[in-house]
């Protein structure tokens, strides 16, 4: 894998970076969708995130990245081996779902090699297994084949991958943070998939000259000598990594006052979002943000800052009023928070 551009060296794109950090702190927020212009660094940010994330503990030799801290969620293999498993530190998986992927590689299928060579019926886990407890990244998510989208929706909703094919009957945990990027000019995302993403951000190419120059400058020095560049930024990266770890530890202790909940609910009502997912995501994202900023309770300010990302894609669609959704959220926020 080529070296990734450091996350902290990305100029601007604050909303996208914040959304990714929130998802890294609390995976339950439910994924990030970054839609926007060409060449604005969407993919760069996601790949950078992979390098940034703190390592996680897994059971050694587990193909599904089972978490030693949660024995009740073990896969069958780990359950069978329970008690005598070594624990490994691995980097959090950020798994690419390439557009040309076939179904068998996504959900997993019969291990062809073992079947052909030894006549054994064995299951070979797919990308969903590999992404468990990590991130599943779809570049150009709007161009993903419909049947793959259906698969993803099903698994993302249940947190479990059920494989019933080729005489195999396997189920394994598959909880991952879905990260999608795309360019709206090339087509819209299916509404069902859109709804699965917790946060949605709009990415624009920076339009002020200083930051554009800075982008080019950093990119240029990265390309010229990536090792030296990474060295320069390693301190910032380490600091950010520490912030994420600390925020994760702090997360359970961050409280959400009833008043804040009421605010969140009022905001969603004012915007007429479908279902309760909006409130839940808004609350979770605000809590993750508070935790990132070492706050003990969720304040209005946190709600206000995550509300656009958490709600903009959930407004009842007037499909032609595309520019409107961000504006509507902003207006509702202004009304409610004053």
């Amino acid at each position: 894998m080529p070296t990734a551009f450091p996350f902290s060296a990305i100029v601007g794109q604050d909303e996208m970076k914040l959304a990714l950090l929130i998802a890294a702190v609390d995976p339950k927020v439910g994924g990030v969708l970054a839609f926007g212009d060409r060449g604005s660094g969407k993919s760069t940010a996601v790949r950078a995130l992979a390098a940034l994330l703190p390592k996680m503990k897994v059971n050694a030799n587990c193909r599904y990245n089972c978490d030693p801290g949660h024995p009740q969620e073990f896969c069958e293999e780990c359950r069978a081996r329970a008690g005598k498993v070594k624990i490994n530190q691995v980097s959090v998986p950020v798994v690419d779902l390439p557009l040309g992927a076939t179904e068998d590689r996504v959900v997993g299928a019969l291990d062809l090699e073992r079947a052909l060579a030894r006549g054994e019926k064995a299951f070979e886990p797919g990308l969903l297994a590999r992404a468990h407890r990590g991130f599943l990244y779809i570049d150009e998510a709007n161009l993903l084949e419909d049947h793959l989208v259906d698969l993803l929706l099903d698994v993302a909703a249940s947190g479990e991958n059920v494989v019933e094919r080729e005489g195999l009957s396997i189920r394994h945990p598959a909880r991952f943070v879905l990260v999608g990027t795309g360019n709206p000019e090339e087509g819209e995302l299916r509404p069902q998939l859109l709804d699965r993403f917790g946060l949605s951000v709009e990415v624009k190419t920076p339009d002020d000259l200083p930051s554009r120059i800075e982008v080019v400058r950093r990119r240029d020095s990265f390309e010229r000598d990536s090792t030296a560049f990474l060295e320069v930024w390693s301190k910032d990266e380490a600091k950010l990594r520490k912030t994420i770890t600390a925020a994760r530890d702090r997360l359970p202790s961050v409280t959400v006052a009833d008043a804040a909940l009421e605010r969140a609910a009022k905001l969603c009502m004012a915007l007429g979002t479908d279902g309760l997912r909006g409130e839940l995501t808004l609350m979770r994202a605000a809590r993750a943000l508070a935790s990132l900023e070492s706050a003990k309770t969720v304040k209005d300010d946190h709600l206000r800052r995550v509300a656009p990302s958490a709600l903009r894609h959930r407004l009842r669609r007037n499909p032609l009023d595309d520019a409107g959704s961000s504006v509507r959220v902003d207006r509702a926020i202004a009304e409610l928070f004053g």
Partner: protein
């Protein structure tokens, strides 16, 4: 710019590309096939290092071949899975040549561009999971006419855009190319340094030219470095920057730069570029000097770009950029064609190999695989030589969902008579219908006719954002060239049908044609022509609805609908919502 200059720039682009194919992304050659293009290609080939291989990417390459996957024959021979490298991985370190890039299928484009971005290709197919290095340059031949273009996402990633369309063969003199010089240049690529001032100047120029994509700026910086390597300069000189700007920025310019500050501000709809570069980071030392240096370098760059842009071309440039944004769907044709022939694969089923059924070889092998040892034992000596024993019950057939996509063509009368009555409501109705088409994932297209002709405002698309934009820009007024509108609709419907989709025409008009096909005014001729065009539509058996938008419905329009073979829908007092509901009921009832 004279032909000789175009040619020498094209040759320079070829050489710079040859120095670093993957880093510069590639060359987009807008030209029809012909001797000029052949000359250029020959020049490019001579420039390339002898070790650089050129791989041809056929237009309708299958995903399996492009990305790689399971090599079936090798797998069967070896009795274990053998991965096959796809074209992208094979092209690592080489050049991918795409002919007719304007027709490139969107799926192919995405694979190509994501491999370019990552420098590798990720394969998750047919039980194979691999990452293979895939760093290559792309030479894309764009043979599009007028508003057909290679996919925007691909264009954005190719540093050089050259247009050889108007170049006479006589201008293409043969340049002496020294491959050794290029080979030497590719060795010292990492050495030249682009100064901060130069980077600032390039960003400035890009902003002044209205280029939004940052990739263009990054490519310019890189090309400047390549140019310095080619010229054997230790650091990047202003000349290198200027020629990089001329080659990379000029073809992408949307705004013609003016040296005078006030005009610049007027023209740039985005925030006007600040006149001074930002004092950044640690180079505050020479901060007070910078603006001066900058301005001169700015001028050099803009002058270089201007030399590549004839002054009169501004209006055309703007026009073109509008066209470009409209024709973003260029090249989707391939994908749909495939979908007609095969439909969307929706899995496999067990079954007999009757005519028409397509065997899914991989799934069949999978089904057969676990039984091999058993069968071999059963077969005893007989089947022992066979690598894989496949039986009737293993056959797995591919299932395809033949989803016929519908493309709704709106033909909107934007003439004076209609504008007075109902244009706003028609627009509203079209928007609502568009929304509905979106829900059903149908495509929509929009043709407007007014004045003396018809115009395709929106090629078939699924993107609502685009549809909305073209509707918003729909002006009204002028005569009613109904025949021209219907002809345009018939042509579009025909091309849609050839892609395997079903066209439906929705005509919103009051039926009072007054401009004939040839653009001359006069009601009788115009009506005659319109009727002829309408019959054409009926003969082609294209479903349609005629929405009569005049305040008092007249038998004339109904008659006309009959000629067209369309459903007649008089909607004298309907608002947008009723109108869309009525049209929907009609089209879905079919």
């Amino acid at each position: 710019m004279s032909g000789a200059l175009v040619w020498s720039d094209a040759v320079l682009a070829a050489q710079l590309f040859a120095v670093d194919p993957a880093g510069t992304g590639g060359v987009l050659v807008r030209s029809r096939a012909g001797p000029v293009r052949d000359h250029w290609l020959a020049m490019m080939r001579v420039s390339l290092l002898p070790t650089t291989a050129i791989h041809h990417l056929p237009l309708h390459i299958a995903d399996g071949r492009l990305l790689g996957g399971l090599d079936l024959s090798a797998t069967l021979r070896a009795g274990r899975p053998v991965a096959e490298r796809g074209l992208l991985a094979q092209s690592d370190g080489g050049v991918v040549q795409v002919a007719m890039a304007e027709r490139l299928a969107s799926a192919t484009t995405v694979h190509l561009t994501s491999a370019m971005d990552a420098g590798e290709v990720a394969i998750e197919r047919d039980g194979v999971s691999l990452r293979l290095s895939a760093r290559f340059g792309v030479v894309a031949f764009d043979e599009g006419l007028e508003d057909e273009f290679a996919p925007a996402s691909l264009r954005d990633r190719l540093a050089f855009h050259i247009d050889l369309n108007d170049l006479p063969v006589g201008e293409t003199e043969v340049f002496q190319i020294e491959p050794e010089r290029i080979a030497a240049a590719s060795e010292r690529l990492a050495t030249p340094v682009v100064s901060d001032t130069q980077i600032a100047a390039i960003c400035n120029a890009a902003a002044a030219l209205g280029i939004a994509s940052l990739r263009a700026t990054l490519l310019t910086v890189h090309v400047a470095r390549v140019s310095a390597a080619l010229e054997n300069n230790a650091t990047v000189t202003d000349d290198d920057v200027a020629s990089a700007a001329r080659l990379v920025l000029a073809p992408r310019a949307l705004i013609f730069p003016q040296a005078q500050e006030p005009e610049k501000e007027e023209q740039t709809p985005e925030p006007p570029p600040p006149q001074e570069p930002p004092p950044e980071g640690d180079d505050t030392g020479d901060e007070n000097q910078q603006p001066d240096i900058d301005r001169t370098l700015d001028e050099i760059i803009l002058a270089a770009v201007q030399s590549a842009l004839p002054a009169g071309v501004l209006a055309a440039l703007r026009e073109e950029s509008r066209d470009r944004s409209r024709s973003r769907s260029s090249g989707k044709a391939g994908a749909h064609q495939q979908s007609k022939k095969r439909g969307r694969p929706v899995g496999v089923q067990r079954g007999d190999l009757r005519s028409g059924a397509r065997l899914n070889v991989i799934e069949t092998l999978r089904a057969a695989a676990p039984w091999q040892p058993l069968r071999r034992r059963e077969a005893g000596g007989h089947g022992a030589q066979a690598r894989v024993l496949i039986r009737h019950e293993d056959f797995r057939l591919a299932r395809f969902k033949q989803r016929t996509e519908t493309t709704t063509i709106f033909v909107v009368d934007a003439s004076g008579s209609a504008a007075l009555h109902r244009l706003a409501e028609a627009k509203g109705a079209v928007e609502l219908l568009l929304a509905d088409c979106y829900v059903r994932r149908d495509q929509v297209a929009l043709i407007a006719f007014r004045g003396t002709g018809a115009e395709l405002l929106l090629p078939p698309t699924r993107s609502l954002a685009r549809a909305k934009r073209s509707l918003a820009g729909l002006p009204g007024g002028g005569g009613t060239p109904l025949a021209a509108g219907l002809d345009a609709a018939a042509m579009l419907a025909d091309s849609i049908r050839r892609k395997g989709q079903t066209p439906t025409v929705i005509l919103l008009t009051d039926g009072r044609a007054n401009i004939a096909r040839d653009g001359s005014a006069g009601r009788p001729r115009a009506e005659q022509d319109a009727t002829a065009s309408a019959r054409q539509l009926r003969a082609a058996n294209i479903a349609g609805v005629l929405v009569d938008t005049s305040p008092r419905p007249q038998p004339l329009a109904a008659q006309f609908a009959a000629e067209m073979g369309a459903h007649y829908l008089p909607l004298p007092h309907a608002d947008a919502a009723t109108l869309s509901k009525a049209v929907l009921a009609t089209t879905q009832g079919r």
